[in-house]
Symmetry: C2
Subunit: 376 residues, 2 copies
C-alpha cells in the first residue's frame, strides 16, 4: 500500500460493509457516494455546499479535463484541488469511458485510443501511461486504470476482447502509477454481462497490486437485474480488504441494492443532472417539479431534510423557477439532490453498523413508493 492510503472495514451486515478509507487529504466514510465534478466543478454547486452536504470525495473526469483546460495547465496552476478549491480527496476516472461515449472518430489499438475532441475536433491520444500521467498531473488521490468499456448488450466475443485488452492495460496502468504523485490506483473489472469473463477479470486484477477494485461496464443500458447478477458474480472474487467501487451507479435504488451486495463506493451524474432538469430525489421518491400540480403547493420538498433548501423553499417556488428557466432552480435542486444522496449513504452506514440494513432498505423503499403527502 502507498503510504497514507488505507481501508478499514469497521462493521458488516451480510455482504454489506461500513468502513473508512484514510488518505492524506481526509477520511472517506464508506459506503460513499462521490458527486461528479466533471470539468473541475460539481455543476451548479458551490464547492463549500458540496462539502456541507456531506461529501468526503469528488470524482473528476480525465477526458473533460485533458481537453479543457488541459492537464499540464491544471498542474501549472497548482493541481485540481487548488484550482477548484476542494482540499479533500478526489478520485479521477481514466478517460476510457468518455472516450467511448463522447469523442469523435475513435481509433483503438493495443497501445491505446486516438480520438478527436468533441469540443473542437482536435486530435488526442490516450494510453494507459498517458492516462496515469494526466491523473498524476491533476493531483488525483485515487487514480483509475485505463480500460475499455463496451456498451451492453454486446457479443460475448466483443466483451471478451475488451476485457482482455483492459487486463493488459491494467498491468501497464499499475506500472505507470507513480506513488509519489497519487495515493492509490484501482483496477477495473470488465467482462460485459458474461459471468465467466467477469470472474476471470476479477481474479486477474486481484492478483495485481491495486489499492482497490472497481466494477466497470455496468449501468450502461442493461436491466438492473443484470447489474445485480454481475455484482453477485464478481464480489466473491474481490479482495475483502480493499474498497469495491461500482462505477457510474446510480439511482438510489441501485445504490441500496449494491451496498447490500458489498459495494463501498459509487459515483453518478444522476443527482446533479436531474437537479438541473427539475427532478428531485427525496425520501418520498423522485419528484418532477415541472409538473403543474406543484404550482400552488406551499409545502417544502422535505421538512425533515438536512438540506435547508429542501426544508425552506416551497414546491411552488421551485416549480416557478424551473418554468421560468431560472438558474436558481438548478442551484437549489442540485443542492437538494446531492444532500439527499449523502443522507442516504449516511443512513446506509448507520444501518450496517446497527446490523439492520435489511429493515432500512425495506423502509426506505416503501417511503419512496408511498410518496409525500403532496401526492407524489
Amino acid at each position: 500500500m502507498t503510504q497514507g492510503f488505507s481501508f478499514e472495514v469497521q462493521a458488516t451486515d451480510g455482504a454489506a460493509r461500513k468502513g473508512e478509507i484514510t488518505t492524506p487529504r481526509g477520511v472517506i466514510r464508506t459506503p460513499a457516494f462521490m458527486p461528479v465534478g466533471t470539468a473541475a466543478t460539481v455543476k451548479a454547486m458551490f464547492v463549500e455546499d458540496v462539502r456541507a452536504a456531506g461529501a468526503d470525495i469528488l470524482l473528476g473526469n480525465v477526458y473533460h479535463l485533458m481537453l479543457r483546460p488541459g492537464a499540464e495547465r491544471i498542474a501549472r496552476l497548482g493541481g485540481l484541488h487548488h484550482f477548484m478549491r476542494w482540499p479533500y480527496p478526489i478520485l479521477t476516472d481514466s478517460g476510457g469511458f468518455q472516450v467511448m461515449s463522447l469523442a469523435k472518430l475513435r481509433k483503438l489499438n493495443e497501445d491505446g485510443v486516438t480520438f478527436q475532441s468533441h469540443i473542437d475536433g482536435s486530435k488526442h491520444v490516450l494510453t494507459p501511461e498517458r492516462s496515469m500521467e494526466i491523473q498524476a498531473l491533476l493531483g488525483s488521490d485515487i487514480q483509475m486504470q485505463f480500460d475499455e468499456c463496451v456498451r451492453l448488450p454486446c457479443s460475448d466475443a466483443e466483451a471478451e476482447r475488451a476485457m482482455r485488452l483492459s487486463l493488459r492495460w491494467a498491468e501497464r496502468s499499475r506500472k505507470a502509477f507513480d506513488s509519489a504523485r497519487g495515493q492509490a490506483v484501482f483496477g477495473i473489472v470488465q467482462g460485459g454481462a458474461v459471468k465467466s469473463l467477469r470472474i476471470e477479470s476479477a481474479r486477474a486484477l486481484s492478483e495485481m497490486d491495486f489499492h482497490g477494485l472497481a466494477i466497470g461496464g455496468l449501468a450502461v443500458g442493461e436491466p438492473q437485474e443484470v447489474m445485480l447478477e454481475m455484482l453477485e458474480t464478481v464480489m466473491p472474487y474481490l479482495p475483502a480488504n480493499k474498497p469495491h467501487y461500482l462505477m457510474g451507479v446510480g439511482t438510489p435504488d441501485d445504490i441500496v441494492k449494491a451496498v447490500a451486495r458489498g459495494v463501498d463506493m459509487f459515483d453518478c451524474v444522476m443527482p446533479t443532472r436531474a437537479g438541473r432538469h427539475g427532478l428531485a430525489y427525496t425520501r418520498f421518491g423522485k419528484i418532477n417539479l415541472m409538473n403543474a400540480r406543484h404550482a400552488e403547493d406551499s409545502s417544502p420538498l422535505d421538512p425533515e431534510s438536512s438540506c435547508p433548501a429542501a426544508r425552506n423553499y416551497s414546491r411552488a417556488y421551485l416549480h416557478h423557477l424551473f418554468k421560468a428557466g431560472e438558474i436558481l432552480g438548478m442551484m437549489l435542486l442540485t443542492q437538494i439532490n446531492v444532500a439527499y444522496y449523502q443522507e442516504l449513504m449516511a443512513g446506509l452506514r448507520a444501518a450496517i453498523e446497527a446490523k439492520r440494513l435489511a429493515d432500512f432498505i425495506i423502509q426506505t423503499s416503501e417511503a419512496w413508493a408511498r410518496g409525500s403527502q403532496s401526492g407524489d
Copy 2:
C-alpha cells in the same frame, strides 16, 4: 407619509446625500443600489448571498411576475417576500417599462396598455389601477406609479405626450395606492431629453403626495452627458426631504456621477447580467474573463474584495468555467459583481459622510482606468 416609512438625510456633500429610508421590513442605507430580482430571483444567486453582499432592498418586476407565476398566485402563496424568502424591503416597478420593451402587440390608450405576453402570447391589460393592485398583491414595500417610458431619441411632441399621460397616470396611481398594502408609492419624472418637459413633470409630481420621486426614461440609449444634464435639470425641482431614485442606472461610473448630483437610489441588471456573461466589475474596472490572457493567471480578481469569491478563485479558474459554459462561473461572477456594486455604494456613503466625495470619485475612477497588475 404612510406609517412606518420615513427618509432621513444624515449627511450631505455638495448635492450628494447620505441617508436612511426606514421601513417596517428594514432600513435602506442610501445611496442604495437595488439588485434586480426580475422573476422572484436575483438570477444565479442565492438570496442569502444577496443579503451577505450588503443589499438592503431588491427590485421586483411587475411585468414578469404578473405573467409568471401571476400576482394572485404569489398573493395566495404568501406574497413575494415569503415566496422568494427575502424578508427585507422590496421595490416593484410598475410594469410600464417592460411592456414597452418586451411585450408584443401593444395597444396604448388613455386607460392603459393592452399587450400580449412575450412568453405565450396571452393577452393582458395594465392600467394604473391594475399595476397598483398587482404591486399590492405582491406585497411590495415601495410601489411605483404606472407610467409610459419612451425610448430616446424621440421627438419633443412624443416626449410631451408621454410625459402628460404619465402625469395623469401618476394621479390615478397615487389614488389607487393602498397604504394598508404597501409602505410607499413613488412618482416618476418623464419628459425625454427636453428640459422644460422634465421640469414640468418634476413640479407636477412634487405637488402630489408621493413618498419618493423617481427619474424614469433615462439610460435608454442616450449618451451619459444627456442623462447627467437631465439629472441636473430635474434635481432642483424634487423635494429635498424625499428619496430620489434614478431608474435602471447603471454602470459604476453612471452611479458615482448621479450620486454626486443628489440621487439616492439605483437599480440595474448590469452587475447580474454581466456576471452571467463573463464580465467582472471590480475596483480595477471591467474585466472580461473570456479573454485568453486569463487562462493561466493564478491571481484572484481582487485580493482585497469583501467577496470571498473575488479573493479566493483564480482568474484562470473563472476563465475556465466560462469557456466550459459552467453554471458555477455565472454563480461566482454574479456574486462578485453584486458585491462590488454594494462595496461601491458603501464607499460613496462613507465619502459623503466624510465630506470627501470628490476625492473618492477621482480615486475610484483612476483605479478603474489604471486596471489591475494583471494588465486589465
